[in-house]
Symmetry: C2
Subunit: 158 residues, 2 copies
């Protein structure tokens, strides 16, 4: 999985504490000492997926495009890592003896079905966790996080 | 995920119908028109994991090393694709403001925890399905599979 998934999730949590404020990729990258250009690529992907919105100009940058309880971990994984499942059925049964050339073995092959079922529970789990859940957990365990994040960005020279 | 996972699972199902018979990589590859050398690499990985056993010599080849109800889909995924989880926490919190250099953020980071939890349900699902389950499903839906597989290998010129 692309490491941008980790970056994207942490950045969304940070942005949740900066409502109404657009932050440029450079500042968001500085927070974790990440490479700006590469983080920017992930932020663009999140923007295309409707998770972030982006504005240009001297005061421009990225902010959350929708409430954190409508951004799931799966949304971020799919936006950055793409929609493909880990197991890709290449229908090797089609090359096997007695295969039916018209059959869609991605649907009927029992190995393909079992692998898809596992992937489904994984995605269901990721779809059930939102950035709002993560933010709530963080704030419960580390109550100073919102304030210290805001202070850090405020003190950052642009 | 390595496509060898698909090949390995189908090959284990085929081998379940050939008890006591060692089949060389060349024959196993011919069944699905797979490249022999690359399938052989996967079969070696399954052998190292104790899923297959291999014998050399003119009558040598691969066979299942243990009963199909003791070979899970997770065993095959880990043997061929390695033990790493899809999401790799690189502890970006460590580079963030106020980080504790002694902390293991792979354990304490709430994003890392949520991603690991999803991975856990995925692996639990794969660990709950065995090759015996798949074989039983195949035999229920395609009762002629064991016989036709045995006939195909018997007719194959060595």
């Amino acid at each position: 999985m692309n490491e941008g998934v980790e970056w994207g999730m942490h950045t969304c949590v940070n942005l949740s504490w900066m409502p109404g404020e657009a932050l440029p990729a450079k500042k968001l990258a500085a927070f974790y000492e990440l490479p700006t250009a590469y983080l920017n690529k992930q932020l663009q992907a999140l923007t295309r997926a409707g998770i972030l919105s982006s504005t240009s100009g001297p005061k421009g940058g990225f902010q959350l495009a929708r409430p954190t309880d409508r951004i799931t971990l799966l949304d971020i994984v799919v936006a950055i890592d793409g929609p493909d499942e880990a197991f890709r059925c290449t229908e090797i049964l089609k090359a096997g003896p007695g295969a039916d050339p018209r059959e869609d073995y991605r649907t009927t092959c029992l190995i393909s079905q079992a692998m898809r079922q596992a992937e489904l529970v994984y995605r269901r789990e990721l779809a059930a966790r939102t950035i709002a859940d993560i933010v709530a957990d963080v704030e419960r365990q580390f109550p100073r996080s919102p304030e210290s994040t805001r202070a850090w960005f405020a003190n950052l020279k642009s």
